[in-house]
């Protein structure tokens, strides 16, 4: 079995207490929420914190509260999000993103805060210590070369959070709490385009909550590309949110590409192109091409960069068409690798499988 390294463990009851311990312990401490990202990384010795500060006993972090829009505690699980009807209706991109993270079992423990802070990924780095020793490590940790881009001097590990692109498209903010004070920033400001140092969070800060604006007139959507429908990290994702007027003219727009570089990519140029126009096929095509041009993946995920690059254009197209009101069920089904219902044919009497859940 793969073993965890030794660590000290704190389980504070309040946010303040947690912030104090974190300030006290300094950067050798890690916060742990569901642990679904952190613990496998610790087993692979990608992270070896001396201290873990558990957030699961902090009630305050598990609350979903009202405000102008909604306030989601960082400790809310992804299953909580999937079960929440308000989110399903009013913040659909987030709901769709959360429902596509990992598997039901993992979503039961995985938290929103953990998902926003999830480590960047790379197939040269998400490996055991011994494996990484075999390639002599890399820039992200203990090494000199970036094997994904040997001529480059930075790390290109991929931002792999599903919820971040969705929440950025929805205009979310995050509240970060430290022993010395707190600050609230737009979510996109939490990320940095550097695979090794991918968050702007200070070591003593705790992500406490996500604040969603009231999005009454917005429509949003999230599309995820992955190699296998049942369980996989994103290798490209598209989150889009729009507010259109009664005549169908786009008044506000946000489009975000996920899992294509080291941070979510907010495509302001695409938004500018959409605003003031109606979503005609031509406009959608132009927007998709523009967004696709910013997709320059490296060869460091579990599917070839060629495919990820190619898929940006159709996925942006589908996202925008869906926001226009087109029925995109079939595209969604195919992207998830699910068979069309073939109910017109006789069912087998001998062996049948349950239809895959949508």
């Amino acid at each position: 079995m793969m073993r965890l390294p030794d660590f000290r463990y704190y389980a504070p009851q309040t946010l303040q207490e947690a912030a104090n311990i974190l300030a006290d312990q300094g950067p050798t401490a890690s916060l742990i929420a569901g642990g679904t990202d952190l613990l496998p990384k610790m087993k692979r010795r990608q992270q070896e914190p001396e201290t873990l500060i558990a957030l699961n006993n902090i009630r305050q972090l598990k609350e979903i509260g009202n405000g102008p829009g909604l306030r989601l505690g960082a400790g809310v699980t992804l299953s909580d999000i999937v079960a929440d009807q308000r989110l399903e209706e009013d913040h659909r991109a987030l709901w769709q993103a959360a429902s596509q993270v990992a598997t039901p079992q993992l979503r039961n423990t995985a938290t929103l805060g953990g998902n926003l802070c999830v480590d960047t990924r790379c197939t040269y780095h998400d490996q055991s210590f011994e494996w990484r020793k075999a390639i002599d490590f890399c820039i992200k940790q203990d090494g000199e070369t970036c094997w994904a881009a040997p001529t480059s001097d930075r790390c290109w590990a991929v931002s792999s959070t599903d919820s971040a692109p969705a929440l950025i498209a929805l205009g979310a903010e995050v509240r970060l709490v430290a022993a010395s004070g707190e600050r609230t920033v737009p979510l996109e400001a939490l990320y940095r385009d550097d695979g090794a140092l991918y968050l702007t969070r200070q070591p003593e800060e705790i992500l406490a909550e996500v604040i969603l604006p009231s999005n009454a007139k917005w429509r949003s959507t999230y599309w995820k590309l992955r190699r296998r429908g049942a369980c996989d990290f994103p290798i490209l994702s598209v989150a889009a949110a729009l507010r259109s007027d009664a005549g169908g003219t786009v008044r506000e727009a946000r489009l975000v590409l996920g899992a294509i570089s080291s941070s979510p990519v907010l495509c302001n140029d695409v938004a500018a192109l959409l605003i003031g126009n109606r979503l005609s096929d031509d406009l959608i095509e132009e927007a998709a091409r523009l967004a696709g041009a910013s997709a320059r993946p490296k060869e460091n995920t579990d599917a070839p960069a060629y495919w990820r690059r190619r898929m940006a254009v159709p996925m942006v197209t589908w996202a925008l068409k869906e926001l226009r009101g087109d029925d995109m069920c079939d595209e969604r089904r195919r992207l998830a690798g699910q068979a069309a219902s073939m109910s017109h044919e006789p069912q087998s009497s001998q062996t049948t499988n349950e239809e895959n859940p949508k």
């Binding site: 030794d6 996989d232 073939m342 001998q350």
Partner: protein
């Protein structure tokens, strides 16, 4: 119909005897074993792909608290290997490492954490050797040699056989098709990671519990590698959490913990990580192949020349057998008048390949079944019809001297064609949807053990006593396939009792008679026949005793529903328990034995031992797919599969195996690949497994499975127990080519390799849009210096199964054929 009704247990769908303990999580696997004072073992594995070990310093590790023992290559002077011809492994490397993951030292400590820490503080100095990663480059003589045995350079083994003059046939054929295919390697991915526990007893004997499919072979290998008499060693195979061939070899960790337990005088356990399981491997060989096939104007095959190049990885393992199997079974599906087969296996610095479900046969099957699709298109024939016209006949000797008994292939094809409404779909569905058909065949047990001997392949002992209980002892191992249930069903059927009243004791070299192991789909047929013999002998004893009591002739007695009675006077019968009491009173303690050895093969040429089997199973599949031309995504809508099982002893188990085979086949077709990363050679020698984890090594989950429609074709085979043939491996074979053919039907793109991924589809479509042929696959097959082939005239050319390299005889054989053709 009436024939089947004769049976009371056989053929009835039932819950397996081990069903509850499996589904409630109570089966004890090797990793569930905990013994008092048990120590834990971790292996230090090489992090370099190819190097000489200059120095190995264990002093820091040895000094750590909690460390009991450190073993290195020095402690294992003797080499071993599963095949007598490839004794090239050491439990721990001495002098040289050959791939990232090759073990160099073992630490035995109070717990896993300590063992792991200590293993990390062993200092090894290596002198790097050139990394050999590409099998084609491994053919060249100037690459650094991995082993100093084998043929030359890194060529492990080359074979060449010619069953008749194929070139002559091809020259005379209306059409000749030549294609090159590539089958990527992949691994078993059994859910259970290998684990082993060893414990010595005060008498100096040692017991090993292991997740192994082949306790008998492990027993022999341990004896050799540890230089201990077999009488000192007991191997117990725990139930396996899946095997698929991945636990058929003898593993270094098994040898290490056995030695450690003897040295420490305390039990020692090891449980491998998933990454280490990827390094154990012994999985599907990557195979590059070229197939040249002659076809007559009406679509009959006139001859085939198959060439294969296998990337073997760092050690021999079962590789020589795998090499033979890339060619041996081609002739058992369709009639092939002449056949030539050349194969070559090379060593590279990767984990060793070996047997995975289908062992060596899925790769050429993939190529041939796609080529048949191409032939059908060219000849403007329906691919199902084309196959039906060439299906081999029952009771035939093939060109390479394999004896086919029953063959239900035509029926399989007809069933899937009807069930899938093939005629309405093939070449008729809209762009983006398609269907493909393919077939396959497999052995029901290899005709020879891996070491030459004249003893039975399987033995069964039966114990009955006055309690009325029956226990079957057999060396076979339940790896999840249901072999214990097979024993129970068969004994219950013969003795007329309920299978739940039959206990099984299996896979224990101290308690059970030898069975060669759970590989080559041999278990149902061989243990089944042995069990029938033992049970019939027991029934005879009981019948004799009861007949005396009832004063009727023994032959008239019927054993059914837990009673023994004369059908003419059922009320006067006795219960089974009373029958046992009568027999025990009459004959003393009751016990019978049964054994089985396969029939003698017809092949007399050297190497003819690979391929013969008591019976061949057949399958046909139609796969219905949707291919999205925009994303390249392949969605399998449904799989229709028919399998010629001979007879289904327990139809639920059989269907489970069929669906499992389809599942594994779809994984191989669509995503699974055991691939390696070569760093830029200017910067690094490294060669690492690309994705040794269950998340990144892509395989389907149950949620990704389409509906599978299973048809069982039952045509009892005289060599099978109650007519049963194999089902564990065969149904996998047609899946990969059927997917490839369906993809072609859907979007007109030929993907002549697996896995068939979205990016390959898109590349094929792009190529087509630019006016290309729309094919993705290998361009060519390398030039290999083949040895002079063994020339074996086929049976219909006067051959007697012997090879001849005498040109006179070859000519005579050809003349003989010409005589026959002119005469007819």
């Amino acid at each position: 119909m009436s024939k089947r009704d004769k049976f009371r247990v056989v053929g009835k769908p039932r819950a397996r005897i081990d069903g509850l303990s499996k589904t409630t999580g109570q089966t004890r696997f090797a990793d569930d074993i905990t013994l008092p004072r048990m120590l834990h073992c971790k292996l230090l594995r090489s992090h370099v792909p190819h190097a000489e070990i200059l120095d190995l310093d264990v002093s820091r590790a040895e000094a750590m608290a909690g460390v009991h023992l450190i073993l290195t290559g020095e402690d294992f002077p003797v080499t071993y290997g599963i095949l007598p011809v490839s004794q090239d492994e050491r439990a721990l490397c001495k002098n040289k490492v050959r791939f990232v993951g090759d073990p160099v030292a073992a630490v035995i400590a109070v717990d896993e954490d300590t063992a792991e820490r200590a293993a990390r503080s062993i200092d090894v100095r290596y002198r790097p050797l050139t990394t050999v990663s590409d099998p084609v480059k491994a053919l060249s003589q100037d690459a650094a040699r991995l082993h100093d045995y084998g043929e030359e350079g890194n060529i492990h083994r080359r074979l060449a056989y010619s069953f008749g003059d194929v070139d002559e046939s091809l020259a005379d054929s209306a059409h000749v098709f030549e294609d090159v295919f590539f089958y990527q390697g992949n691994t078993h991915l059994a859910l259970e990671q290998h684990a082993a526990v060893a414990a010595a007893d005060p008498e100096g004997r040692v017991t090993l519990w292991s997740s192994t499919q082949c306790p008998h072979y492990v027993h022999r290998a341990l004896s050799k590698a540890l230089e201990l008499p077999t009488t000192q060693i007991r191997v117990i195979a725990c139930p396996n959490g899946g095997g698929f061939g991945g636990k058929t070899d003898v593993f270094n960790h098994e040898i290490v913990v056995t030695k450690a337990a003897l040295r420490c005088g305390r039990p020692v356990k090891i449980c491998l990580t998933r990454e280490e399981v990827f390094y154990c491997h012994r999985g599907r060989h990557p195979v590059l192949m070229k197939i040249r096939t002659g076809v007559s104007a009406d679509g009959k095959l006139t001859g085939m020349h198959l060439q294969t190049l296998l990337d073997g990885g760092a050690y021999g393992s079962y590789g020589v057998a795998s090499t033979f199997y890339t060619g041996a079974l081609q002739p058992v599906t369709y009639h092939l008048p002449r056949y030539r087969f050349d194969a070559c296996r090379v060593f590279t610095n990767k984990p060793p390949c070996g047997p995975k479900r289908g062992h060596g046969t899925p790769q050429p099957r993939f190529g041939q079944e796609i080529q048949l699709d191409k032939i059908a298109e060219k000849l403007n024939k329906d691919p199902a019809e084309l196959r039906l016209d060439i299906v081999e006949q029952p009771d035939t000797l093939t060109a390479n001297y394999l004896k086919i008994g029953t063959i239900g292939l035509a029926e399989c094809i007809k069933r899937v064609v009807a069930r899938s409404k093939w005629q309405d779909k093939h070449r008729k569905l809209p762009f983006g949807r398609g269907v493909g058909i393919a077939c396959g065949a497999y052995l029901s047990g290899a005709g020879h053990a891996i070491y030459w001997n004249k003893m039975p392949h399987s033995g069964v002992q039966l114990k009955l006593d006055r309690s009325g209980s029956v226990t079957v002892f057999c060396g076979s191992t339940d790896i999840g396939q249901g072999s214990n249930d097979v024993l129970a069903v068969i004994v219950a059927e013969v003795l007329g009792i309920c299978p739940d009243n039959v206990r099984t004791v299996t896979g224990d070299t101290a308690l059970t008679p030898v069975d060669l192991g759970s590989y080559s789909s041999r278990v149902t047929l061989m243990t089944g026949n042995a069990a029938i013999q033992a049970a019939e002998r027991a029934r005879d004893l009981l019948a004799k005793a009861v007949a005396e009591q009832l004063e009727v002739p023994g032959e008239t007695l019927l054993f059914a529903d837990g009673c023994v009675f004369d059908p003419a006077d059922p009320d006067s019968g006795v219960s089974f328990e009373q029958a046992v009491v009568a027999a025990e009173s009459r004959f003393g303690t009751l016990g019978t034995v049964g054994s089985y050895a396969p029939p003698r093969p017809e092949a007399r040429f050297k190497g003819g031992g690979v391929g013969p089997s008591p019976a061949y199973s057949y399958s046909a599949a139609v796969v219905d797919v949707e291919v999205d031309p925009e994303t390249g995504m392949i969605i399998v809508n449904r799989v229709y599969i028919a399998h010629d099982i001979g007879r289904a002893l327990n139809p639920v188990s059989v269907e489970g195996q069929v669906v499992g085979g389809v599942y594994m086949g779809l994984g191989e077709a669509l995503m699974e690949e055991q691939v390696f990363r070569r760093m830029p050679p200017k910067l690094s020698d490294a060669l690492v497994h690309r994705c040794p984890s269950m998340l990144d090594y892509k395989s389907l989950s149950s949620l990704d499975m389409p509906e599978v429609i299973v048809e069982l074709v039952e045509n009892p085979d005289p060599n099978g127990p109650f007519g049963a043939k194999e089902v564990g491996q065969g149904p996998l074979l047609p899946i990969m080519p059927a997917v490839a053919n369906a993809v072609y039907d859907a979007v007109g793109v030929r993907i002549d390799e697996v896995p068939i991924t979205p990016e390959k589809i898109l590349k094929g479509l792009d190529q087509k849009a630019r006016g290309g042929e729309g094919r993705v696959g290998p361009a060519d097959f390398p030039d290999i210096q083949w040895p002079e082939p063994y020339f074996v005239p086929p049976p219909w050319e006067g051959g007697d199964g012997q090879s001849t390299n005498d040109p006179e005889q070859k000519r005579a054989a050809t003349m003989h054929k010409m005589d026959r053709t002119t005469a007819s």
